[in-house]
């Protein structure tokens, strides 16, 4: 094979000059590891959230007063049901309950356990609930984060809520929601809808908002128009807007990391460029010697290209594998706080392994091209100088 001697020589140089390359490989691995971890994490979170979003209702309506969302009359439910093309109309009661001593807030969700749609959704999440036992006393289901927080404050069996009218309401912890739901349910408390109303001080004919589906996408805009004609003070949010908001949130966080990555990569490339440009470097002498024994500039560039391509590929594979293990096996300790930050309770989330090969390919190209340029340009500059000077 015509190139066998060349690749044999390339392998020799790589193995016998390990110490020369080890620094570049280590730094490359760290950079690729960090970038891939961020990408894996944001992709996984986006995937999970969007998968969750797909199960959510198509529309949410709330009442607005003076530009502020207020409680929605439950009578709207029936009016919305009358609109053709609308299905699965569900009133919801939920809100933040502020635990002042520790400045933490829980998300309380009131569920009509006798509503077929709500009970099915709950059953999918936690399995069959023993209704008899659940309703034997005032009970609630709590997310993993809430459970841990309450335990840390010695609320092992129950928790006492303070209502807006100054009453205390003791509610028993019936069950913890599964850890797999932590991404959305970590700080959540699920309780009967009437109990939630009492804790929030809402009237019986009020709900927080109303959700519904419109199976025919083409009708979405018409339905929004009808709602605005029906209620002068309504605010309609469709699922696409929420999706966009989530995507923007993670793109924004990912973008920040991308910026940091760009700064790091530029710094590293400058260091590499300088290293290869050094007047008295062994690199320079090696190129001079090879030129003196008959290698052309093209041969030199070919050698340096393949030598550094191997370094980039090896670093890339190691970096990506380490990132995969770090995110999907170890659960991305430390980095998860940066991405899940904003939640007031610490959240343990199992990240769903999602790998977008297109994104990985872009990472490779964004890394490989500047890396090779940072090495090949100085190598070319040395190769075009007379070999006699390069060997000095």
């Amino acid at each position: 094979m015509q190139n066998s001697a060349f690749f044999h020589f390339l392998t020799l140089l790589l193995f016998k000059q390990k110490s020369k390359h080890i620094g570049a490989v280590l730094i490359s691995v760290v950079i690729i590891f960090l970038l891939s971890s961020v990408l894996f994490l944001s992709t996984s979170l986006r995937y999970s959230l969007l998968a969750t979003m797909d199960k959510q209702a198509d529309f949410t309506v709330t009442r607005m007063q003076a530009g502020k969302a207020v409680n929605t009359p439950s009578a709207w439910t029936d009016k919305i049901l009358e609109i053709n093309g609308v299905t699965k109309v569900a009133p919801r009661v939920y809100g933040r309950y502020f635990f002042a001593p520790r400045e933490n807030a829980f998300l309380i969700v009131g569920v009509d356990f006798f509503d077929e749609q709500s009970s099915q959704a709950l059953e999918r999440l936690i399995g069959k609930v023993d209704m008899k036992r659940f309703f034997s006393e005032e009970s609630m289901l709590v997310g993993e984060g809430v459970r841990q927080f309450l335990r840390a404050h010695y609320f092992n069996r129950d928790f006492t809520f303070k209502t807006p009218v100054g009453k205390f309401k003791k509610v028993t912890i019936f069950q913890t929601l599964p850890e797999s739901a932590n991404l959305i349910a970590n700080d959540m408390i699920v309780m009967p809808i009437d109990l939630a109303r009492e804790i929030f001080g809402m009237q019986e004919d009020e709900v927080t908002d109303i959700t519904f589906n419109v199976p025919n996408d083409a009708e979405w805009d018409n339905i929004v128009t009808k709602l605005h004609l029906m209620f002068y003070d309504v605010r309609v949010i469709d699922k696409r807007e929420i999706k966009k908001a989530y995507e923007n949130l993670y793109n924004y966080k990912g973008g920040l990391f991308l910026l940091l990555y760009l700064i790091t990569i530029v710094t590293f490339m400058l260091i590499l460029y300088q290293r290869y440009s050094m007047v008295y470097s062994t690199e320079r002498k090696e190129i001079g010697i090879l030129r003196a024994v008959g290698w052309s500039i093209r041969d030199i560039l070919k050698l340096k290209f393949y030598e550094n391509l191997v370094i980039v590929i090896v670093s890339f594979i190691i970096g990506v594998l380490l990132a995969y293990l770090y995110v999907f096996v170890l659960g991305a300790p430390l980095l998860d706080r940066l991405f899940l930050g904003g939640a007031n309770l610490h959240n343990h989330v199992s990240f769903v392994p999602v790998v977008e090969f297109g994104t990985l390919g872009s990472v490779f190209l964004f890394y490989a091209i500047p890396f090779l340029a940072a090495v090949l340009i100085p190598a070319w500059k040395i190769a075009v100088t007379p070999p006699k000077e390069a060997m000095l």
Binding site: L12, L13, G288, I289, V293, G294, R298, D299
Partner: protein
């Protein structure tokens, strides 16, 4: 075989630091000749060799080797010329320190398109001629000065060049190794190679296989003597 016509080399040309290293050098060497370029350090011997080896370009004049105008060769052709026609033994050996003797010797043949096995066979033959085959697998950095020199000779011979250029080949060797080198030169001569040795080592005086001795001073050939190996002697 080698023709130099009015070759000059000026470093830092056009600047106040301009330095004329070679001044109108003329030289005609026949095939199979062994010649010595003698002179003190800085007399222009090494510069002359590097121009013949196309490692640098002359400021003016013509250098023709084997009918090829070396002084005007573009890079690709200059590389091919170095890879085929000449072998150079440098004063400081200029070996790839992290590689073994065999790997260093193979280096000039890597881009010739020859199969790896053929290259290895050629390297073995060359190492045998340079009496370094017993150190083939040893890393160059672990070799003595004499062994490095023999490795450099093997590398210069591996592609069977017609012209061998040796730049101060014994400057970093003790007497015993210098004598060994001279014996290798004798072998090269018997192989019909054209050899140019730039040296100021007195050991090269009066060698029985040297055809001519050129004395250089301030970048010019000031004197030419027939060596003991010349038919005139």
């Amino acid at each position: 075989m080698v023709i130099l016509e009015n070759v000059t080399k000026v470093y830092n040309e056009g600047t106040p630091q301009a330095f004329e290293a070679l001044r109108a050098v003329n030289l005609h060497l026949a095939e199979g000749e062994t010649v010595i370029l003698s002179g003190v350090s800085g007399s222009g011997k090494s510069t002359l060799l590097s121009l013949i080896a196309a490692l640098d370009k002359p400021s003016s004049g013509k250098i023709i080797v084997e009918g090829e105008l070396v002084s005007k060769l573009p890079d690709l052709h200059a590389s091919a010329y170095r890879a085929k026609t000449i072998g150079v033994v440098f004063q400081h050996f200029n070996l790839l320190e992290t590689l073994s003797v065999e790997e260093n010797v193979m280096a000039p043949l890597i881009n010739t398109g020859l199969p790896l096995e053929t290259i290895k066979t050629m390297a073995a033959k060359s190492m045998e001629t340079a009496a370094i085959v017993h150190k083939a697998s040893q890393e160059v950095k672990a070799l003595s000065g004499g062994e490095k020199q023999r490795c450099a000779i093997a590398r210069a011979l591996v592609h069977d060049p017609k012209l061998i250029l040796c730049d101060e080949p014994t400057a970093n060797l003790d007497k015993a190794n210098s004598l060994k080198f001279i014996e290798i030169l004798r072998t090269l001569r018997s192989m019909g190679k054209t050899v140019i040795v730039a040296t100021h080592d007195p050991l090269f005086e009066g060698l029985d296989f040297v055809d001519r001795v050129f004395h250089m001073e301030d970048g010019a050939i000031v004197n030419q003597e027939s060596g003991a190996g010349s038919p005139e002697q």
